[in-house]
């Protein structure tokens, strides 16, 4: 007789009190496959933990975002935010879809060039651009978004030796009614810094001022804030038109749209409550169309959307190591995924779904990672079906920031695979090995020997 699947015995008191905020419903169905490929097979072939990206979801999400904006505004361009996920394969999917590149360091800039992005299609943001970076960007006619006056003066100086006119924009920070206000990057709108910087650029006569940029924050839950931002940048653009009869070519509203994740402390799942592309597109398009631009001189709208485009396409597969009970009687589950791999668990209550069948019985549990550190908590409280040691599970919505902000800490970083549109599995980043790690280390001769 074949044995039945084991589920650990469970007894739960029926409580009549109000459900607490963690009482969100548990999953009803296992996540046994991703784009037609079995989770079990993926782990067998590539190990656990394993990052999995869905090309289908990446392209579908991009096309949804593109449509939301281009049906409302005639000139729209996305620029892929490299820091959100700079696996080359991921970047190239966006480039194939028509996205430019948005980078914030020399490293990311070189990655975009190596991927084949024309210099003219690279937006260079960030406060730390070296002389070498700026020289390269000027020569390649990239779009340099100036962050501070020191950078502005460095560019003016460089024009004395480089015989090309830098193509620049400034980054503007502003009050859009949301807290916290990001005011450490760029020039402030309300106190006149931004207008001052624009006048300095125009007065220098050495650069082509072609755009205006802002990035008002990340995981923004207010679509209205983007309307405010678009109006303020439009106001600066119209000021340039009035004073210098100068037209900027584009308005870049940065990134910041939320993904479907649930922020820590939120009472309802993000999937049900977060605004979607259409909400943002409506606000932004109205603000720009209603501004005083002449109809034949509407600026190009650039968006540097990161997490909202890629988060849903990423999954992290893992395995249960053990179930325990704390000294206070609380259930805890230890998994083979720590905060070193899932940086975003500091912000989100990530959804976790078993990869195999389960019953409707569930238990509130704390999900701990395997690191020998107290901070290694993936979910402080999750209502999960009863997982056994060795069971597999899927953590959802991990495509943004984890594959760039992960840390080599205590364990080595795992493989990343991409499931293509043809449902074939492609390895896009190898797992780290002791050898690959040790390549960076060097042992001084006198430390080579010891006796114990």
């Amino acid at each position: 007789m074949e044995k039945l699947r084991y589920e650990r015995p469970l007894i739960k008191r029926l409580e009549s009190e109000m459900p607490n905020k963690f009482g969100m419903k548990a999953e009803h169905f296992p996540k046994s496959h991703i784009d037609g490929v079995a989770v079990k097979d993926l782990i067998e072939a590539h190990g656990s933990p394993l990052f999995v990206l869905s090309e289908k979801t990446i392209r579908n999400t991009y096309q949804r975002a593109k449509k939301a904006f281009s049906t409302r505004y005639p000139k729209v361009q996305f620029a892929w935010s490299y820091k959100t996920n700079y696996m080359d394969a991921v970047c190239n999917i966006y480039h194939q879809e028509g996205s430019w590149a948005e980078v914030v360091s020399g490293f990311e800039y070189d990655k975009a060039i190596k991927n084949g992005v024309p210099g003219k299609r690279i937006i260079f943001n960030g406060p730390d651009k070296t002389i070498a970076d700026l020289t390269k960007a000027i020569q390649n006619e990239s779009l340099i978004h100036i962050d501070h006056l020191d950078e502005l003066y460095t560019i003016v100086e460089l024009t004395e030796t480089i015989k090309k006119r830098p193509r620049v924009a400034i980054r503007v920070n502003m009050d859009t009614g949301v807290y916290p206000m990001w005011d450490r990057f760029g020039f402030n709108y309300e106190n006149g810094q931004a207008w001052d910087a624009l006048n300095k650029i125009m007065a220098s006569g050495k650069m082509d001022l072609i755009g205006l940029h802002t990035h008002i924050g990340t995981f923004m839950l207010s679509a209205k804030a983007y309307g405010v931002a678009a109006r303020k940048l439009a106001d600066l653009a119209l000021g340039l038109k009035r004073k210098y009869n100068h037209e900027v070519k584009y308005i870049d509203l940065g990134g910041g749209f939320p993904s479907k994740n649930t922020l820590k402390g939120a009472y309802l799942p993000g999937n049900d409550t977060n605004p979607v592309f259409d909400d943002f597109a409506e606000e932004i398009a109205s603000a720009l169309l209603n501004a005083e631009f002449s109809p034949d001189a509407l600026p190009l709208l650039i968006l540097e959307t990161g997490r909202a485009l890629v988060d849903d396409a990423g999954f992290l597969l893992g395995t249960v190591i053990s179930n325990k009970r704390s000294s206070k009687g609380k259930r805890s589950t230890i998994i083979d995924i720590g905060v070193n791999l899932l940086f975003t668990s500091f912000w989100y209550d990530h959804k976790i779904t078993p990869a195999q069948d389960f019953t409707h019985f569930n238990e509130e549990t704390t999900v701990f990672g395997p690191l020998c550190m107290n901070i290694d908590v993936i979910r402080e409280s999750a209502v999960l079906p009863l997982l056994n040691k060795g069971d597999h599970f899927v953590i959802h919505t991990v495509g943004a920031y984890n594959m760039t902000q992960w840390m080599q800490f205590i364990t080595l970083r795992p493989r990343i695979v991409l499931i293509g549109l043809d449902e074939k599995v492609h390895i896009i980043r190898e797992a780290e090995t002791m050898d690959s790690f040790n390549k960076f280390e060097n042992m001084p001769d006198y430390l080579k020997k010891f006796e114990l």
Binding site: Y6, P9, R13, F361
Partner: protein
């Protein structure tokens, strides 16, 4: 270890403790264990029976069993020895 004699268990996994008025839900394997306890089966016998029927190794089951008994004790469903 003995389960309190007046504890009622239904096949669908509903447990009622008339002493406290509290009710509980138990999953099917939990119901089986409670029924075996009611028949005064020893721990080793329960473990053997469960392992014949389900895919589980002895250490895992015994750990889960101890945990389950701990909770039952906590809910005053087991008589103090």
């Amino acid at each position: 270890m003995k389960i309190k004699p007046n504890i009622a268990v239904s096949d669908s996994g509903f447990v009622f403790n008339p002493d406290t008025g509290e009710s509980f839900t138990v999953n099917p394997i939990g119901v089986e264990i409670i029924n075996l306890l009611k028949e005064n089966k020893e721990t080793s016998e329960i473990s053997n029976q469960v392992r014949v029927k389900y895919t589980v190794d002895q250490p895992t089951f015994e750990k889960d069993f101890d945990d389950f008994i701990g909770l039952m004790r906590n809910y005053s469903l087991i008589e103090n020895d």
